[in-house]
Symmetry: C2
Subunit: 297 residues, 2 copies
């Protein structure tokens, strides 16, 4: 099996690795440079270095809506310089390596299903709790990308018609309660001293009522979201990942409480609610799987 | 092409037909008898009559959760006598004809996608507005049944956390606002004189404010539901069917208003919102398609 170069491109960090199967042979982390040329320049340069002539291609997991026609992001709120930029073509031109671009939450989902928490399950919804809420849907072993490549925008599933304002402009999106950022925002509103989601979690574990209340609110919202996903898709498993999943133990009881009330009983009976396993490796490993798939078909 | 016998089994009526392709050669309507033996007896008797030795099998579209292992309904709130009853086996025993049982909303969806409003679309969500809200999901031309055969229980997608009480016990399910029954219930609560959903529609068309307000509320709820479905699945089309779709013209503006606010723009851009075409023939024709599929694989 030949190595694959994979990139987990975020608004803050750019992780690049050489992967063979589920083995990350080498990984480097950079601050994400500004400007499309600098980003693809860094990826191409590092990809050539890591490949050293051996890799079959580069897979970039990127935050935003992926357009297959463009070979890049057609909507990239966290990296606006890449909006409409033909990333795959430029990386190919600069590095000589075949390149594909995939949505980062989709890659994350494929990673967790192939090598992580959901090994052995064929139909899985993966939810990532970060700045927003992202997701990936795997049905009968295949990633469901949607008709326009933008399926699983699950952060904007409404849970409360006239609820909290979401960054998207609508009210009551699940993301406005259940993302890691919203957990912190809620804690502050309730009077917590937390300055990060991580700190809110620690304060809650030490009994701070405001922080506890925030995780209860977030967990309830996530329970409603997951119930909707399960009632629609009837998957075998739901995986909770992303930075916010660090608070899994605080969220789980409220998620389950809401699911018992709202999930269709026959869809609930065999359902597994799982916590992610691969953390920062999920998107890298998933991107590698998707590139191998693309090359072999 | 050989004929297929298809049955649309409802809590009130039982429709049975001989179908070749999309041609309904003969159709009969009966009141649904009470008791599992009487139901399968009537189906077997009429199937043999309509087949006259020519049909390849019987497909029954039935309301409830279908268990493939059982060959029947594992949950049938509208026909409790069929709960856990091996319907397919009994019909086969009595008639000598191969028999399959399928969820009626799934059959309806396949009918509309194959021969109705969504011809030419491969990834479609079909919503049926009746006593409750049902649905069927077709992805890349294939019915998505879910891991346990109970996908598309979309009536119980929450739209409002502390909203109206639903028959399922939870609060704020889409069904509590957008089903045909809920449209009537809302109209009455707002002070309408309507005694049926049909009448509420006519009163609204004649300017009765209470009835108009009910369709506005139902349309808004359906817009939230459809936005969630589209954000999750990114289909090419959404079809609105079932008895409640008779009010499509009153519902559509409110559905679209909510979708413009809540649906991910890239998933909205190419999306078609369609009204069903086949009415009472959708489930019959869809059941025939699913039986042909089963036989040919």
């Amino acid at each position: 099996m030949k190595p694959v170069i994979v990139v987990d491109l975020g608004g803050t960090n750019l992780r690049i690795a050489r992967v063979v199967g589920n083995n990350v042979e080498h990984r480097e982390i950079f601050s994400t440079p500004r400007g499309a040329e600098s980003i693809v320049g860094l990826i191409a340069e590092q990809a050539m270095k890591l490949s050293a002539g051996t890799a079959v291609g580069v897979a970039v997991a990127a935050p935003g809506a992926v357009s297959r026609g463009l070979g890049g992001l057609s909507k990239a709120p966290n990296l606006p310089e890449l909006d409409g930029y033909p990333m795959a073509e430029e990386i190919r031109r600069l590095s000589g390596l075949h390149c594909m671009v995939e949505n980062d939450a989709n890659a994350y989902a494929v990673g967790e299903v192939t090598y992580g928490a959901a090994i052995g399950y064929k139909s899985v919804v993966v939810i990532t709790l970060g700045t927003g809420i992202g997701g990936g849907i795997v049905l009968e072993g295949r990633l469901w990308r949607g008709a326009d490549g933008v399926a699983a925008e699950i952060g904007h599933v409404c849970i409360e018609e006239n609820g909290r304002r979401c960054g998207c402009g609508a009210s009551g999106c699940a993301e406005a309660y259940g993302s890691a950022s919203s957990m912190l925002r809620l804690a502050k509103e309730y009077g917590s001293n937390a300055t990060s989601a991580r700190e809110a979690y620690e304060l809650a574990k030490n009994g701070e009522q405001a922080a506890l209340k925030a995780f209860k609110r977030a967990g309830t919202a996530l329970g409603i979201l997951i119930s909707s996903l399960v009632n629609i898709l009837n998957p075998q498993a739901v995986v909770i990942g992303g930075g916010g999943s660090a608070a899994y133990d605080l969220l789980e009881p409220y998620i389950l409480e809401e699911m018992k009330l709202r999930t269709f009983p026959l869809a609930m009976r065999n359902l597994q609610l799982l916590r992610c396993k691969l953390k920062n490796y999920a998107a890298l490993l998933g991107a590698a799987v998707l590139l191998e798939e693309q090359i072999s078909t």
